[in-house]
């Protein structure tokens, strides 16, 4: 018996050993750290992530919101009491009352700091890489780190200096930050290629960034100044770098203004640096979808792709166009304001392939495909679709026409679904399935018109050379010849240049920076009366402040938040 017992114990103990002898080494099944890559794969694998967050960074709720909804170019009310309320963050943003817990501020910050970190990782990896393009990639990574730091300096008033991935980054402000960014850009300029644009950083891209840096240095140096002191030597530098770009003859102003924002804009000669979006990399279509009505359906083949009744332009911004061309309607006077694509035939029937929505600033009653979302589009014959007046059907207001009005504000009447003039600057993706995804167009960071306007501004700020500035401004206007070019301006001043930048660059992620530099940011416009200079920069996100609270004095919140 005892023998039996012991043999049984042995059997069980044996089973146990087979089943349970473990060192508790964690075995990872669903992910693997990368090994065995070629030098090329390592090099490309490091540079790609440096750029990869740009589409997200430039999304409607991220950088776009921070740069545009805080300005007079865009306003986003609580649409119909059901949409875009978002706990008031878009109203706060417009009123310059943004809080440090604001999710869009936090998301924008995250994209920037992550991109800086990816640049640091890439710089360290590429330094020892043997792939033939590794040196160019390295220069691009450094230039991009400088660009992200420039964004961070503009938005949050700080930049980060970090070389060693294991060290804690140094936080830079004001002049120190400007000099750091400048020295980085200067250091990589000779190493960059000039054939890799517009999707990647080039020599010309760096020149454009340097021009921007010098132009804004006065602001970034002395953030809360009553008036900014633009230094002559810095203005000279702006002119110098703009000259370099213009005289390189690599770039060309587009004759059709809206072709710059078309789906196939990647090869448009006006682009200097842009975010290379591809539909098969799931670029986003938010720039085209954001402002359209929820009852506008730009694609006959996709009844699910509509707009979202996002922001509209403020009446003040609209009036700047009206007063510039009065009594001529801005749509007639300036091809940048509007492009008519949808001409309704007598029988209101149109081939699906011919259907294209209008571009630019959309006003009044909108027409388009009937149906969508829950209801199939009304057709009329083979491949043909009925076109008609649009109503807010998807909003449960089938009798409320989609009739964009000039008036828009935060009152109940002013925040209805159709208030405010809308912007359809970028072309709606032809392959999107829901309106938001599969964007095709590149999103512009730098283009030639901006360079001309920066040079004009520097000339004005340097010695008020209005004549030279006027030539630059009129060069841009005169180039838009595809339809009737806007008339040449006769005089030039900082106020007129500011207005011109609005006409040329509206909704291109620039307005807040421009308004601050031109001293307009503390002005008054619809639903905005705050004159607090401390709102010129955003709060550092509460999350980041919390995360850094274990190093006292390291990450200090901006005053006023």
């Amino acid at each position: 018996m005892i023998k039996k017992i012991f043999s049984l114990v042995l059997i069980f103990a044996g089973i146990s050993i087979i089943h349970s002898c473990t060192k508790l080494k964690e075995q990872v099944l669903d992910e693997s750290s990368v090994t065995g890559l070629t030098e090329q794969q390592i090099a490309e694998g490091n540079i790609a992530p440096v750029y990869a967050l740009l589409p997200t960074l430039f999304q409607h709720t991220n950088l776009f919101s921070l740069q545009e909804i805080s300005s007079d170019e865009a306003i986003l009310p609580y649409r119909g009491g059901t949409d875009w309320g978002d706990n008031g963050i878009y109203m706060s943003l417009h009123r310059h009352e943004t809080l440090s817990s604001d999710p869009n501020v936090n998301n924008t910050w995250n994209q920037i700091v992550q991109s800086i970190s990816r640049s640091v990782t890439a710089i360290n990896a590429l330094a020892t890489n043997n792939y033939v393009n590794a040196k160019t990639f390295l220069a691009e990574a450094r230039a991009m780190r400088a660009y992200y730091n420039m964004l961070s300096l503009d938005l949050f008033g700080i930049s980060f200096k970090k070389e060693d991935p294991d060290a804690t980054s140094e936080i830079l402000r004001g002049d120190v930050a400007i000099n750091y960014i400048k020295s980085e850009l200067l250091a990589v300029e000779p190493l960059l290629d000039n054939t890799t644009g517009p999707g990647r950083m080039t020599k010309a891209g760096v020149w454009g960034l340097l021009a921007k840096l010098y132009l804004n240095a006065a602001v970034w140096r002395d953030r809360y100044a009553a008036t900014f002191t633009f230094k002559t030597d810095e203005m000279d530098k702006v002119i110098e770098y703009c000259d370099k770009i213009i005289s390189s003859n690599q770039f060309q102003l587009a004759s059709e203004y809206f072709s710059i924002f078309d789906n196939n804009n990647h090869n448009n000669k006006e682009l200097i640096f842009a975010i290379d979006q591809r539909s098969d990399l799931n670029g986003h279509n938010r720039m085209a979808y954001f402002s359209l009505s929820g009852d506008q359906f730009p694609l006959p083949s996709v009844p699910a792709a509509n707009g979202t009744d996002g922001p509209a332009i403020t009446p003040e911004f609209y009036q700047s166009w009206v007063s510039a061309y009065s009594p001529v309607d801005p749509a007639t006077a300036d091809p940048r304001f509007f492009k008519k694509n949808l001409n309704i035939p007598v029988d209101s029937c149109i081939l699906g392939t011919d259907f294209k929505i209008d571009r630019g600033i959309m006003r009044g009653q909108q027409y388009g495909l009937i149906g969508g979302r829950n209801i199939p589009f009304t057709t009329c014959g083979t491949g043909k679709y009925k076109i008609g007046k649009l109503y807010n059907v998807t909003r449960g207001k089938p009798t409320l026409p989609v009739d964009f009005t000039e008036a828009i504000d935060f009152t109940v009447a002013g925040s209805n679904y159709s208030t405010g003039y809308r912007v359809e600057k970028y072309e709606f993706s032809s392959v999107t399935t829901d309106g938001r995804n599969r964007g095709e167009h590149d999103i512009i960071i730098l283009r030639l018109a901006d360079i001309f306007l920066m040079r004009a501004e520097a000339k004005l700020r340097k010695n008020n050379d209005a004549a030279a500035a006027l030539i630059d401004v009129n060069t841009v206007r005169a180039a838009r010849t595809a339809r009737t070019a806007p008339p040449a301006l006769l005089t030039m001043s900082l106020d007129l240049l500011f207005r011109e930048r609005g006409f040329e660059l509206y909704w291109e992620h620039q307005r807040r920076t421009d308004m601050i530099r031109f001293g307009k940011y503390e002005g008054t416009w619809t639903e905005k009366t705050n004159t607090d200079k401390q709102k010129r920069i955003f709060p550092i996100p509460l999350n980041a402040i919390n995360g850094a609270s274990n190093i006292p004095g390291y990450l200090v919140q901006n005053p006023g938040y």
Binding site: L24, T82, D276, N282, R373, P376
Partner: protein, 994 residues
């Protein structure tokens, strides 16, 4: 040769056997023995089943049947000894009569009850930790889908809160308060010795697979001195579930069935069409009147029927006992198209060998749960806010499509979720007595769950739906191997028992999903033929998946010592190693010590009123290892996903971007809880009044958090870490009381329990850790409701304080920082907590002859609920825009219709309630009176009312609610948002035993 053998068998062996058999019979007769029969009943006249009837001084014994009857052979002058658990041993001398009615008296004190502790059982009277054992008889009654419902309100210190009223929904259960910020605060569940993994394999509560009627007992281990034996999984308490076993000498077939009828307990009191027509214009809105009068809630809710059938076979002989059951519960939800079906089977058996030195127990439970769900929150949202003047159906009763409103009937019909989980839980456990007092045990268990969830949108022309099928497959395979020895040594006055063992558990979890879009409109449901889908590409249909293995290796031990049965001491110890822990912290060590003093055993207490008085005290360290996998390892990953890749040239393919996705934290470890407990068990009046009083204090530190790193320039935006100094303290007092009176034809009992608890977060390095995401409801995106703040309890509501409506018709908020602008982050206040201060319950029962009546009530107080539903839907502006609301929207006559409704204390409501949980009236037929005792041993009919009423100020569907609105895993508390309403049910049932 064969033929010869057969012949041999027939002609030699068989006659020999027959001769032997008859000789035996002759012997019996010659011994002058005769058959003695009788019945054994208790003081109330109820039969006592499974009582041992033995002839004193001989080896003859038998057991009573379920109707209390027995037969045994004995001779005149013999003494029969009757013994049974919970009864005083009774002796009867055999006289000339051959039939005896024996009455056994219940032992006055029920302390002889056995409680299940980790890796063994103990007598309740010897336990030194805070442990409560709940037997099947005292479980809650009603429609029960998961075992936690059985003990709601039954155990002090235990808070059971359902997420909503949906059938099978997850039940939150915390023992002595939540100790973590983000980790699961669920206790460890151990079923028949197998610790369950908390990873879910589909919809609903993971314990839905257990048929409540298979459960014999649930033992709740509350304090560290009891749970330290489960080490790194013991910090949130342990619930040990034991399934039923067969009894030797019996043979029973039982059948029970019930029919439940449920209706929504309370509807939202939204405006009727007539009221709506009156109220909309009053707000200044223009009425959009379609002329109908629709109660949208009536359109989506129904009277639901629940059928339950349960068949059990149990019994056994001396060496083999078994229990087998088949159960089926078909439950309808009160929302249309919502069903939960459970089919379960169980087989438990015990076999003894070698003079009972070797015992083998096997348990096997197999369950299929099938859950069909409509898109619940979508439908609820539509049902409570849709314009009541819109028609729901046309003249012929078909759902009608009217542009401008979402008719929920289309969603009910076209959008569904089909969830099936198959789960097998089995174990084999061997116990071998090596020498006297020394027992070796071996356990092997498997837990295998497969879940499939089809989320289907049927294609449709009007309303236009493209059609989509998304399928999630989840697998969870767990394996357990344990070896341990126990040793008992008794030499009066010393009594020592010791336990030492090793345990290894391996859990493999896998999830996969895929989807396909654009189905042709037709009768075929996408789930039955995904191949009909016409759109499949990586941008919308990228398959997903994950898999991981968790391994846990443990060494554990326990020593208990009793001196003179008066002074008790217990030491528990466990060392837990886990693959989840960092390289520098592979093993955690969890000791506990506890002492007990049975004061009532002391000489000076001999004549006191106390029949039992025991003082307990314990201290221990336990852990919580619910850390996500892989967090201790760095990840350098490479992918062509959009956020990693970028075009470097004009044409593809795109390079795979390589980034650090995660930083290694080799120091990552479990959360640690230190708990002290002082308790007093007492019984007075010969045990009629008994109770327990406990004080506890549990301090958790090394709190696990996902934090942004100090330097913002980091490869990963967040990092898992233990926040060393941060603590979460739970302390409280628990009191349980029970009074029993047993009479011949009349008995009653009353009792109850109350827990007072306080929770506090301290030394958090963060000003506030936000949770309670208000996103989802239009206009509330990004707002948070809960905050973890130093000096305040977990689940605190951190909100702007609403002071009322100002003269301009707009809301006025408290300007805490007095900077002139109200409603900023800095103006938020702590406005109460979702954790109740008091949890209480009481119960009562009366037995009059064959009738019995039981009632259970439970409640909480001192807690708040955030009514996110009202915040999102019931506002004046919504009403003015033709959305339906309750009268809450117009409660402020001066409110402007342009007044925004951001999150604030305006929608924070008192969450206290008292619920009539269940009430049962039963009647036990007397089979012998009916003359059917030959076939039927027990016949009972009963009626149960479940959730008959709730006393509360809260005006949502139900105050017991906890919608999950976590933010990056930080747990939210006390939020109600479009939560499935609770049902009120009446259940009629029949139990029959043969």
């Amino acid at each position: 040769m064969q033929k010869l053998n057969q012949r041999l068998l027939f002609f030699r062996v068989l006659p020999a056997l027959l001769t032997f058999f008859f000789s035996l019979m002759m012997l019996v007769v010659q011994a002058q023995q005769r058959q003695i029969s009788g019945t054994v009943t208790d003081g109330k006249g109820s039969p006592v089943a499974s009582a041992t009837v033995a002839v004193k001084g001989s080896k003859t014994s038998t057991l009573t049947a379920d109707n209390g009857s027995f037969t045994i052979s004995a001779k005149d002058g013999d003494v029969l000894v009757f013994s049974a658990i919970s009864f005083e041993t009774t002796e009867v001398k055999i006289t000339s009569e051959s039939s005896y009615s024996v009455t056994m008296n219940a032992t006055t004190v029920v302390l002889s009850d056995v409680v299940v502790v980790g890796y063994g059982t103990q007598n309740k009277k010897d336990v030194t930790g805070a442990v409560k054992s709940l037997k099947a008889a005292s479980f809650n009654k009603g429609i029960i889908t998961s075992p936690q419902q059985l003990l709601q309100g039954k155990v002090s210190g235990v808070n059971v809160t359902s997420v909503s009223g949906e059938p099978g929904v997850q039940l939150g259960i915390t023992i002595r308060g939540p100790g973590g910020v983000r980790t699961s605060n669920t206790p460890l569940f151990v079923v028949d010795g197998i610790p369950l993994d908390n990873n879910v394999t589909g919809r609903g509560d993971p314990l839905n697979f257990l048929n409540p009627q298979d459960i014999e007992s649930m033992d709740v281990l509350k304090d560290a001195s009891a749970t330290a034996i489960y080490g790194s999984r013991g910090a949130n308490g342990v619930v040990i579930i034991t399934t039923k076993k067969g009894k030797a000498g019996t043979s029973q077939l039982s059948f029970s069935t019930s029919l439940g009828i449920s209706k929504i307990a309370r509807k939202y009191d939204v405006f009727t069409a007539d009221e709506f027509r009156r109220e909309v214009p009053k707000t200044g809105g223009t009425i959009d009147d379609k002329g109908a009068s629709t109660d949208w809630q009536d359109e989506v809710f129904r009277t639901a029927y629940t059928q339950n059938y349960n068949l059990t076979l149990s019994g056994g002989a001396d060496k083999l006992t078994y229990f087998a059951s088949f159960g089926m519960q078909k439950q309808e939800g009160v929302m249309k198209t919502n069903d939960l079906d459970r089919y379960s089977g169980r087989f438990n058996a015990t076999q003894r060998f070698w003079d009972d030195r070797l015992t083998i127990d096997v348990t096997l439970g197999v369950t299929t749960t099938k859950n069909d769900r409509p898109f619940i929150s979508t439908i609820l949202g539509q049902a409570i806010t849709n314009n009541p003047t819109y028609p729901a159906r046309d003249a012929s009763g078909n759902p009608v499509f009217v542009a401008g409103i979402n008719n929920p009937l289309f969603s009910l019909e076209g959008e569904r979720e089909f969830n099936t989980i198959n789960r097998v839980l089995g174990s084999i456990s061997t116990s071998l007595k090596i020498v006297k007092g020394l027992v070796y045990k071996f356990n092997f268990g498997i837990d295998n769950a497969n879940g499939t969830n089809d989320i289907q949108t049927k294609p449709s022309v009007t309303p236009f739906r493209e059609g989509r099928l998304e399928t999630f497959y989840n697998y969870n395979r767990s394996r357990l191997v344990e070896n341990y020895v126990t040793y008992n040594w008794v030499k009066s006055p010393h009594n020592v028992s010791a336990l030492a063992g090793h345990s290894y558990q391996r859990i493999f979890v896998q999830g996969r999903n895929n989807s396909v879009n654009r189905f042709p409109v037709g009768p075929v449901q996408p789930q039955y033929n995904p191949g009909l889908g016409q759109l499949l590409d990586l941008a919308t249909n990228r398959p997903g998946g994950y898999a991981f293995i968790n391994e846990l290796q443990s060494f554990f031990g326990r020593v208990t010592y009793q001196y003179n049965s008066k002074y008790l001491a217990t030491i528990n110890f466990r060392a837990d190693g886990s693959t989840k822990f960092g390289e520098n912290n592979k093993y955690g060590y969890f000791p506990s010590f506890s002492l007990g003093w049975k004061i009532s055993e002391e000489d000076f207490m001999k004549n006191s009123i106390f029949s039992n008085l025991k003082l307990r005290a314990g201290w221990g360290i336990t852990g919580n290892q619910e850390i996500p996998e892989k967090q201790t390892q760095a990840l350098f990953t490479s992918s062509t996903a959009g956020t990693l890749s970028y075009p470097l040239t004009g044409n593809g393919p795109y390079p795979a971007g390589t980034i650090y996705a995660r930083l290694a934290n080799p120091d990552l470890q479990w959360e640690t809880s230190k708990q002290i407990d002082v308790g007093l068990d007492f019984a007075l009046m010969k045990g009629a009044l008994s109770g327990t009083l406990d004080y506890f204090r549990k301090v958790t530190n090394d709190i696990l958090l996902v934090v942004p790193p100090a330097d913002p320039i980091q490869p990963a935006t967040t990092l898992w870490t233990n926040v060393k100094d941060m603590t979460i303290t739970n302390q409280g007092v628990e009191l349980e009381l029970d009074y029993k009176h047993n009479g011949k034809n009349f008995g009653y009992n009353v009792g109850g329990n109350i827990t007072y608890m306080k929770n506090k977060v301290e030394n958090s390095p963060y000003t506030v850790i936000a949770s309670g995401n208000a996103s989802g409801p239009a206009g509330l995106t990004s707002a948070t409701l809960n905050g973890y703040i130093n000096g305040e309890p977990i689940g605190s509501f951190y909100l702007n304080q609403w002071l009322g409506i100002g003269s301009n018709g707009l809301s006025v908020y408290f300007d805490k920082d007095k900077n002139g602008t109200t409603y900023t982050d800095n103006d938020r206040i702590v406005a109460g907590t979702a954790l109740p201060k008091f949890i209480y319950s009481f119960y009562g029962g009366i037995t009059i002859k064959d009738f019995d009546f039981n009632v259970n009530m439970n409640g909480v107080s001192g807690n708040k609920i955030y009514d996110l539903t009202a915040n999102a839907s019931f506002t004046k502006v919504n009403l003015s825009r033709n959305g339906n609301t309750t009268a809450e929207a117009i409660a402020e006559p001066n409110e402007s219709v342009s007044n925004a409704a951001p999150v604030s204390t305006r929608y924070l409501k008192n969450g206290a309630y008292l619920r009539m949980n269940n009430m049962t009236l039963g009647y036990n037929f007397n089979p012998s009176k009916l003359g059917i005792s030959k076939w039927v041993s027990n016949l009972r009919v009963f009626a149960t009312g479940q959730n008959l009423f709730v006393i509360t100020d809260y005006n949502g569907y139900d105050p017991e609610v906890n919608a999950d609105r976590n933010i990056s895993g930080v747990t939210s508390y006390g939020i109600d948002y479009l939560s499935y309403p609770k049902a009120k049910s009446f259940i009629f049932g029949l139990n029959l035993s043969f």
